[in-house]
Protein backbone atom coordinates (compact mmCIF):
# COMPACT_ATOMS: atom_id res chain seq x y z
CA UNK A 1 0.00 0.00 0.00
CA UNK A 2 2.03 2.93 1.20
CA UNK A 3 5.24 1.01 0.81
CA UNK A 4 4.50 -0.08 -2.73
CA UNK A 5 3.35 3.39 -3.72
CA UNK A 6 6.53 4.90 -2.32
CA UNK A 7 8.58 2.31 -4.11
CA UNK A 8 6.97 2.90 -7.48
CA UNK A 9 7.25 6.62 -6.89
CA UNK A 10 10.96 6.22 -6.32
CA UNK A 11 11.29 4.17 -9.46
CA UNK A 12 9.54 6.83 -11.45
CA UNK A 13 11.85 9.44 -10.06
CA UNK A 14 14.76 7.25 -11.05
CA UNK A 15 13.40 6.91 -14.57
CA UNK A 16 12.93 10.64 -14.75
CA UNK A 17 16.53 11.18 -13.76
CA UNK A 18 17.68 8.63 -16.33
CA UNK A 19 15.74 10.30 -19.09
CA UNK A 20 17.04 13.70 -18.22
CA UNK A 21 20.67 12.74 -17.85
CA UNK A 22 21.23 10.06 -20.46
CA UNK A 23 22.43 12.05 -23.42
CA UNK A 24 24.90 9.29 -24.09
CA UNK A 25 22.25 6.75 -24.98
CA UNK A 26 21.36 6.53 -28.63
CA UNK A 27 18.91 9.26 -29.42
CA UNK A 28 15.69 8.07 -30.88
CA UNK A 29 15.60 5.11 -28.51
CA UNK A 30 16.22 5.38 -24.84
CA UNK A 31 18.25 2.80 -23.00
CA UNK A 32 15.44 1.83 -20.68
CA UNK A 33 11.70 1.85 -21.19
CA UNK A 34 9.67 4.07 -18.94
CA UNK A 35 7.35 1.53 -17.38
CA UNK A 36 5.77 3.94 -14.96
CA UNK A 37 2.05 3.33 -14.90
CA UNK A 38 0.21 6.64 -15.11
CA UNK A 39 -2.21 5.84 -12.29
CA UNK A 40 -3.58 8.73 -10.28
CA UNK A 41 -2.21 7.45 -6.95
CA UNK A 42 1.26 7.02 -8.39
CA UNK A 43 1.15 10.44 -9.97
CA UNK A 44 0.14 11.95 -6.67
CA UNK A 45 3.03 10.40 -4.77
CA UNK A 46 5.45 11.22 -7.56
CA UNK A 47 4.44 14.85 -7.66
CA UNK A 48 4.65 14.90 -3.92
CA UNK A 49 8.25 13.78 -4.00
CA UNK A 50 9.20 16.19 -6.74
CA UNK A 51 7.70 19.28 -5.17
CA UNK A 52 9.13 19.07 -1.70
CA UNK A 53 8.39 22.46 -0.23
CA UNK A 54 4.73 22.47 -1.19
CA UNK A 55 4.24 19.12 0.46
CA UNK A 56 0.87 19.45 2.00
CA UNK A 57 -0.03 16.22 0.12
CA UNK A 58 -2.28 13.41 1.28
CA UNK A 59 0.16 11.44 3.45
CA UNK A 60 1.12 13.04 6.75
CA UNK A 61 -0.82 16.25 6.46
CA UNK A 62 -0.86 17.09 10.10
CA UNK A 63 2.85 16.36 10.45
CA UNK A 64 3.80 18.88 7.79
CA UNK A 65 1.55 21.72 8.74
CA UNK A 66 4.01 22.94 11.36
CA UNK A 67 6.39 25.35 9.58
CA UNK A 68 9.44 24.35 11.59
CA UNK A 69 9.18 20.69 10.70
CA UNK A 70 8.46 21.72 7.13
CA UNK A 71 11.72 23.62 7.06
CA UNK A 72 13.57 20.72 8.61
CA UNK A 73 12.17 18.34 6.04
CA UNK A 74 13.22 20.61 3.17
CA UNK A 75 16.69 20.98 4.64
CA UNK A 76 17.00 17.24 5.16
CA UNK A 77 15.93 16.41 1.64
CA UNK A 78 18.34 18.93 0.14
CA UNK A 79 21.17 17.44 2.21
CA UNK A 80 20.24 13.99 0.99
CA UNK A 81 20.22 15.15 -2.62
CA UNK A 82 23.63 16.76 -2.24
CA UNK A 83 25.03 13.64 -0.65
CA UNK A 84 23.67 11.44 -3.37
CA UNK A 85 25.12 13.66 -6.09
CA UNK A 86 28.51 13.63 -4.43
CA UNK A 87 28.49 9.84 -4.13
CA UNK A 88 27.42 9.50 -7.76
CA UNK A 89 30.13 11.83 -8.97
CA UNK A 90 32.87 10.08 -7.03
CA UNK A 91 31.67 6.61 -7.85
CA UNK A 92 31.55 7.48 -11.51
CA UNK A 93 35.23 8.16 -11.46
CA UNK A 94 36.10 4.57 -10.55
CA UNK A 95 33.35 2.55 -12.12
CA UNK A 96 31.86 4.01 -15.31
CA UNK A 97 28.24 3.62 -14.28
CA UNK A 98 26.79 5.11 -17.45
CA UNK A 99 28.74 2.70 -19.61
CA UNK A 100 27.63 -0.19 -17.44
CA UNK A 101 24.01 0.85 -17.87
CA UNK A 102 24.38 0.34 -21.59
CA UNK A 103 25.27 -3.29 -21.08
CA UNK A 104 22.20 -3.99 -19.00
CA UNK A 105 19.70 -2.43 -21.40
CA UNK A 106 18.17 -5.72 -22.46
CA UNK A 107 14.70 -7.07 -22.82
CA UNK A 108 13.16 -10.51 -22.93
CA UNK A 109 13.21 -10.86 -26.70
CA UNK A 110 16.92 -10.07 -26.84
CA UNK A 111 17.73 -12.54 -24.07
CA UNK A 112 15.74 -15.26 -25.78
CA UNK A 113 17.40 -14.69 -29.14
CA UNK A 114 20.85 -14.45 -27.63
CA UNK A 115 20.45 -17.69 -25.71
CA UNK A 116 19.28 -19.30 -28.92
CA UNK A 117 22.39 -18.09 -30.72
CA UNK A 118 24.60 -19.31 -27.88
CA UNK A 119 23.10 -22.78 -28.02
CA UNK A 120 22.90 -23.01 -31.82
CA UNK A 121 25.11 -20.49 -33.60
CA UNK A 122 25.21 -22.31 -36.90
CA UNK A 123 22.16 -20.77 -38.52
CA UNK A 124 22.82 -17.16 -37.64
CA UNK A 125 23.84 -15.25 -40.72
CA UNK A 126 24.59 -11.65 -39.91
CA UNK A 127 27.03 -11.17 -37.06
CA UNK A 128 27.74 -7.48 -37.40
CA UNK A 129 27.00 -5.03 -34.66
CA UNK A 130 25.02 -2.10 -35.97
CA UNK A 131 26.14 1.34 -34.98
CA UNK A 132 24.32 4.57 -34.57
CA UNK A 133 26.42 7.70 -35.01
CA UNK A 134 29.61 6.07 -33.91
CA UNK A 135 28.25 4.46 -30.77
CA UNK A 136 27.07 0.88 -30.69
CA UNK A 137 23.35 0.39 -30.49
CA UNK A 138 21.97 -0.80 -27.17
CA UNK A 139 21.60 -4.57 -26.90
CA UNK A 140 17.86 -4.49 -26.93
CA UNK A 141 17.92 -3.21 -30.50
CA UNK A 142 20.64 -5.44 -31.89
CA UNK A 143 21.05 -9.08 -31.12
CA UNK A 144 24.76 -9.10 -31.91
CA UNK A 145 25.73 -6.51 -29.32
CA UNK A 146 27.38 -7.88 -26.16
CA UNK A 147 25.57 -7.46 -22.88
CA UNK A 148 26.37 -8.11 -19.26
CA UNK A 149 23.01 -9.40 -18.14
CA UNK A 150 23.36 -12.92 -19.47
CA UNK A 151 26.94 -13.39 -18.16
CA UNK A 152 26.04 -12.11 -14.70
CA UNK A 153 22.96 -14.26 -14.40
CA UNK A 154 24.80 -17.26 -15.81
CA UNK A 155 27.65 -16.80 -13.34
CA UNK A 156 25.32 -16.68 -10.36
CA UNK A 157 23.35 -19.65 -11.66
CA UNK A 158 26.61 -21.55 -12.14
CA UNK A 159 27.51 -21.02 -8.49
CA UNK A 160 24.09 -22.21 -7.37
CA UNK A 161 24.16 -25.24 -9.64
CA UNK A 162 27.67 -26.06 -8.40
CA UNK A 163 26.33 -25.96 -4.86
CA UNK A 164 23.49 -28.25 -5.92
CA UNK A 165 25.92 -30.68 -7.55
CA UNK A 166 28.12 -30.75 -4.49
CA UNK A 167 25.07 -31.27 -2.33
CA UNK A 168 23.96 -34.36 -4.21
CA UNK A 169 27.36 -35.86 -3.52
CA UNK A 170 27.30 -34.95 0.18
CA UNK A 171 30.26 -32.68 -0.25
CA UNK A 172 28.45 -29.45 0.43
CA UNK A 173 29.10 -26.84 3.08
CA UNK A 174 28.17 -23.16 2.88
CA UNK A 175 31.78 -22.02 2.68
CA UNK A 176 32.19 -24.03 -0.48
CA UNK A 177 29.79 -21.69 -2.27
CA UNK A 178 32.08 -18.79 -1.54
CA UNK A 179 35.12 -20.81 -2.56
CA UNK A 180 33.51 -21.74 -5.87
CA UNK A 181 32.46 -18.17 -6.49
CA UNK A 182 35.85 -16.64 -5.86
CA UNK A 183 37.62 -19.37 -7.78
CA UNK A 184 35.47 -18.88 -10.87
CA UNK A 185 35.82 -15.12 -10.56
CA UNK A 186 39.60 -15.41 -10.40
CA UNK A 187 39.67 -17.57 -13.51
CA UNK A 188 37.49 -15.02 -15.29
CA UNK A 189 39.80 -12.17 -14.30
CA UNK A 190 42.87 -14.10 -15.39
CA UNK A 191 41.30 -14.94 -18.72
CA UNK A 192 40.34 -11.32 -19.37
CA UNK A 193 43.84 -10.14 -18.40
CA UNK A 194 45.44 -12.71 -20.67
CA UNK A 195 43.25 -11.62 -23.57
CA UNK A 196 44.04 -7.96 -22.88
CA UNK A 197 47.76 -8.70 -22.76
CA UNK A 198 47.70 -10.59 -26.01
CA UNK A 199 45.67 -7.86 -27.68
CA UNK A 200 48.29 -5.35 -26.56
CA UNK A 201 51.15 -7.47 -27.86
CA UNK A 202 49.65 -7.96 -31.28
CA UNK A 203 48.72 -4.25 -31.52
CA UNK A 204 45.27 -4.79 -32.78
CA UNK A 205 43.33 -1.61 -33.33
CA UNK A 206 39.96 -2.63 -32.12
CA UNK A 207 37.07 -1.08 -30.30
CA UNK A 208 36.68 -3.99 -27.93
CA UNK A 209 36.50 -2.58 -24.43
CA UNK A 210 37.39 -4.48 -21.26
CA UNK A 211 33.73 -4.88 -20.41
CA UNK A 212 33.13 -6.40 -23.85
CA UNK A 213 35.79 -8.99 -23.07
CA UNK A 214 34.21 -9.72 -19.71
CA UNK A 215 30.89 -10.20 -21.47
CA UNK A 216 32.36 -12.58 -24.05
CA UNK A 217 34.14 -14.56 -21.38
CA UNK A 218 30.92 -14.84 -19.42
CA UNK A 219 28.93 -16.37 -22.23
CA UNK A 220 30.46 -19.78 -21.68
CA UNK A 221 28.75 -20.13 -18.31
CA UNK A 222 25.47 -20.81 -20.10
CA UNK A 223 26.88 -23.98 -21.62
CA UNK A 224 28.47 -24.99 -18.36
CA UNK A 225 25.19 -24.73 -16.48
CA UNK A 226 23.31 -26.88 -18.97
CA UNK A 227 26.18 -29.38 -18.98
CA UNK A 228 26.17 -29.74 -15.21
CA UNK A 229 22.39 -30.07 -15.05
CA UNK A 230 22.43 -32.70 -17.77
CA UNK A 231 25.14 -34.55 -15.89
CA UNK A 232 23.14 -34.42 -12.67
CA UNK A 233 19.95 -35.62 -14.29
CA UNK A 234 21.16 -38.20 -16.77
CA UNK A 235 24.64 -39.29 -15.73
CA UNK A 236 28.15 -38.84 -17.03
CA UNK A 237 27.39 -39.67 -20.63
CA UNK A 238 24.89 -36.84 -20.87
CA UNK A 239 27.44 -34.52 -19.27
CA UNK A 240 30.08 -35.37 -21.85
CA UNK A 241 27.68 -35.12 -24.77
CA UNK A 242 26.26 -31.77 -23.74
CA UNK A 243 29.72 -30.38 -22.99
CA UNK A 244 30.87 -31.50 -26.42
CA UNK A 245 27.93 -29.75 -28.04
CA UNK A 246 28.40 -26.54 -26.09
CA UNK A 247 32.16 -26.47 -26.57
CA UNK A 248 31.60 -26.58 -30.31
CA UNK A 249 28.87 -23.97 -30.07
CA UNK A 250 30.91 -21.52 -28.02
CA UNK A 251 33.93 -22.05 -30.27
CA UNK A 252 31.94 -21.14 -33.38
CA UNK A 253 30.24 -18.26 -31.58
CA UNK A 254 33.52 -16.72 -30.43
CA UNK A 255 35.21 -17.09 -33.78
CA UNK A 256 32.35 -15.56 -35.68
CA UNK A 257 32.02 -12.69 -33.23
CA UNK A 258 35.71 -11.92 -32.83
CA UNK A 259 36.45 -12.26 -36.50
CA UNK A 260 34.60 -9.07 -37.23
CA UNK A 261 36.23 -7.19 -34.42
CA UNK A 262 39.84 -8.27 -34.60
CA UNK A 263 40.66 -9.04 -38.19
CA UNK A 264 41.03 -6.52 -40.92
CA UNK A 265 38.15 -5.98 -43.26
CA UNK A 266 39.38 -8.14 -46.08
CA UNK A 267 40.28 -11.08 -43.90
CA UNK A 268 36.99 -10.90 -42.07
CA UNK A 269 35.15 -11.48 -45.29
CA UNK A 270 36.89 -14.75 -45.79
CA UNK A 271 39.50 -13.85 -48.36
CA UNK A 272 42.95 -15.16 -47.57
CA UNK A 273 45.17 -12.21 -46.82
CA UNK A 274 48.85 -12.98 -46.49
CA UNK A 275 51.18 -11.20 -44.16
CA UNK A 276 52.41 -11.97 -40.67
CA UNK A 277 50.13 -9.46 -39.04
CA UNK A 278 46.95 -11.00 -40.30
CA UNK A 279 48.27 -14.41 -39.47
CA UNK A 280 48.97 -13.33 -35.92
CA UNK A 281 45.48 -11.92 -35.63
CA UNK A 282 43.97 -15.13 -36.91
CA UNK A 283 46.00 -17.16 -34.42
CA UNK A 284 44.89 -14.82 -31.67
CA UNK A 285 41.23 -15.25 -32.55
CA UNK A 286 41.58 -19.01 -32.72
CA UNK A 287 43.39 -19.24 -29.40
CA UNK A 288 40.86 -17.07 -27.61
CA UNK A 289 38.09 -19.21 -28.97
CA UNK A 290 39.95 -22.43 -28.15
CA UNK A 291 40.55 -21.36 -24.56
CA UNK A 292 36.83 -21.26 -23.90
CA UNK A 293 36.16 -25.03 -24.09
CA UNK A 294 39.25 -25.64 -21.95
CA UNK A 295 37.87 -23.36 -19.25
CA UNK A 296 34.43 -24.88 -19.57
CA UNK A 297 35.82 -28.34 -18.92
CA UNK A 298 38.20 -27.20 -16.20
CA UNK A 299 35.54 -25.48 -14.15
CA UNK A 300 32.98 -28.27 -14.27
CA UNK A 301 34.65 -31.66 -14.30
CA UNK A 302 35.21 -31.74 -10.56
CA UNK A 303 31.49 -31.30 -9.99
CA UNK A 304 30.47 -34.48 -11.78
CA UNK A 305 31.65 -37.66 -10.18
Amino acid sequence: MDYSAAQSGFRQQHNMRLRNSSVDGPDGGQLFDDTSAAGPANQGVYRNQQAGPQAAGPPGQSFLSDPMSNLAMVYGSSLATQGREMVDKNLDRFIPISKLKYYFAVDTVYVGKKLGILVFPYMHKNWEVSYQQDTPVAPRFDVNAPDLYIPTMAFITYILVAGLALGTQNRFSPELLGVQASSALVWLIMEVLAVLLSLYLVTVNTDLTTIDLVAFSGYKYVGMIIGIIAGLLFGRLAYYLSMLWFCGAIFVFMIRTLRLKLLSEAAAEGKLVRGTRNQLRMYLTMSIAAAQPVFMYWLTYHLIR
Partner: protein, 83 residues
Protein backbone atom coordinates in the same frame (compact mmCIF):
# COMPACT_ATOMS: atom_id res chain seq x y z
CA UNK B 1 41.33 -25.56 -7.30
CA UNK B 2 40.66 -23.09 -4.57
CA UNK B 3 41.82 -19.82 -5.98
CA UNK B 4 40.97 -16.76 -4.01
CA UNK B 5 41.27 -13.11 -4.87
CA UNK B 6 44.17 -12.91 -2.49
CA UNK B 7 46.17 -15.50 -4.41
CA UNK B 8 45.45 -13.54 -7.56
CA UNK B 9 46.92 -10.40 -6.05
CA UNK B 10 49.93 -12.37 -4.83
CA UNK B 11 50.46 -13.89 -8.26
CA UNK B 12 50.25 -10.51 -9.93
CA UNK B 13 52.76 -8.97 -7.56
CA UNK B 14 55.19 -11.84 -8.01
CA UNK B 15 54.94 -11.74 -11.79
CA UNK B 16 55.49 -7.99 -11.94
CA UNK B 17 58.39 -8.35 -9.58
CA UNK B 18 59.90 -11.04 -11.80
CA UNK B 19 59.63 -8.80 -14.85
CA UNK B 20 61.10 -5.87 -12.99
CA UNK B 21 64.23 -7.66 -11.82
CA UNK B 22 65.39 -8.74 -15.27
CA UNK B 23 68.76 -7.14 -15.43
CA UNK B 24 69.50 -5.02 -18.46
CA UNK B 25 73.18 -5.55 -19.16
CA UNK B 26 73.82 -8.97 -17.73
CA UNK B 27 70.91 -10.73 -19.24
CA UNK B 28 68.73 -8.99 -21.74
CA UNK B 29 71.43 -7.59 -23.97
CA UNK B 30 73.15 -10.95 -24.15
CA UNK B 31 69.95 -12.44 -25.48
CA UNK B 32 69.40 -9.65 -27.95
CA UNK B 33 66.52 -8.21 -25.96
CA UNK B 34 68.14 -4.97 -24.89
CA UNK B 35 66.24 -1.76 -24.73
CA UNK B 36 68.01 -0.31 -27.73
CA UNK B 37 67.48 -3.30 -29.96
CA UNK B 38 63.75 -3.28 -30.19
CA UNK B 39 62.95 -0.05 -31.90
CA UNK B 40 63.56 -1.02 -35.47
CA UNK B 41 60.40 -0.78 -37.43
CA UNK B 42 58.72 2.56 -37.29
CA UNK B 43 55.42 2.81 -38.99
CA UNK B 44 52.32 1.05 -37.99
CA UNK B 45 53.71 -2.38 -37.24
CA UNK B 46 55.96 -2.53 -34.18
CA UNK B 47 55.91 -6.31 -34.00
CA UNK B 48 55.50 -8.59 -31.05
CA UNK B 49 59.14 -8.47 -29.89
CA UNK B 50 59.20 -4.67 -29.78
CA UNK B 51 55.97 -4.66 -27.79
CA UNK B 52 57.38 -7.11 -25.26
CA UNK B 53 60.54 -5.04 -24.85
CA UNK B 54 58.46 -1.92 -24.37
CA UNK B 55 56.40 -3.71 -21.77
CA UNK B 56 59.48 -4.87 -19.85
CA UNK B 57 61.01 -1.43 -19.90
CA UNK B 58 57.82 0.29 -18.79
CA UNK B 59 57.26 -2.21 -15.96
CA UNK B 60 60.81 -1.58 -14.78
CA UNK B 61 60.33 2.19 -14.89
CA UNK B 62 57.05 2.07 -13.02
CA UNK B 63 58.41 -0.31 -10.44
CA UNK B 64 61.42 1.88 -9.76
CA UNK B 65 59.05 4.67 -8.91
CA UNK B 66 56.61 4.41 -6.03
CA UNK B 67 55.20 1.05 -7.00
CA UNK B 68 58.18 -0.81 -5.57
CA UNK B 69 57.34 0.57 -2.14
CA UNK B 70 53.76 -0.62 -2.54
CA UNK B 71 54.87 -4.09 -3.57
CA UNK B 72 57.30 -4.43 -0.65
CA UNK B 73 54.61 -3.38 1.81
CA UNK B 74 52.22 -5.88 0.26
CA UNK B 75 54.78 -8.64 0.53
CA UNK B 76 55.44 -7.80 4.17
CA UNK B 77 51.72 -7.89 4.87
CA UNK B 78 51.41 -11.27 3.21
CA UNK B 79 54.31 -12.62 5.27
CA UNK B 80 52.60 -11.46 8.44
CA UNK B 81 49.27 -12.91 7.34
CA UNK B 82 50.72 -16.27 6.44
CA UNK B 83 52.36 -16.70 9.82
Amino acid sequence: MAFTLYTLIQTAILCINAIAVLHEERFLSKMGWGADQGVGGFGDDPGVKAQILNLIRSVRTVMRGGASMASTTLQNCSVHLNK
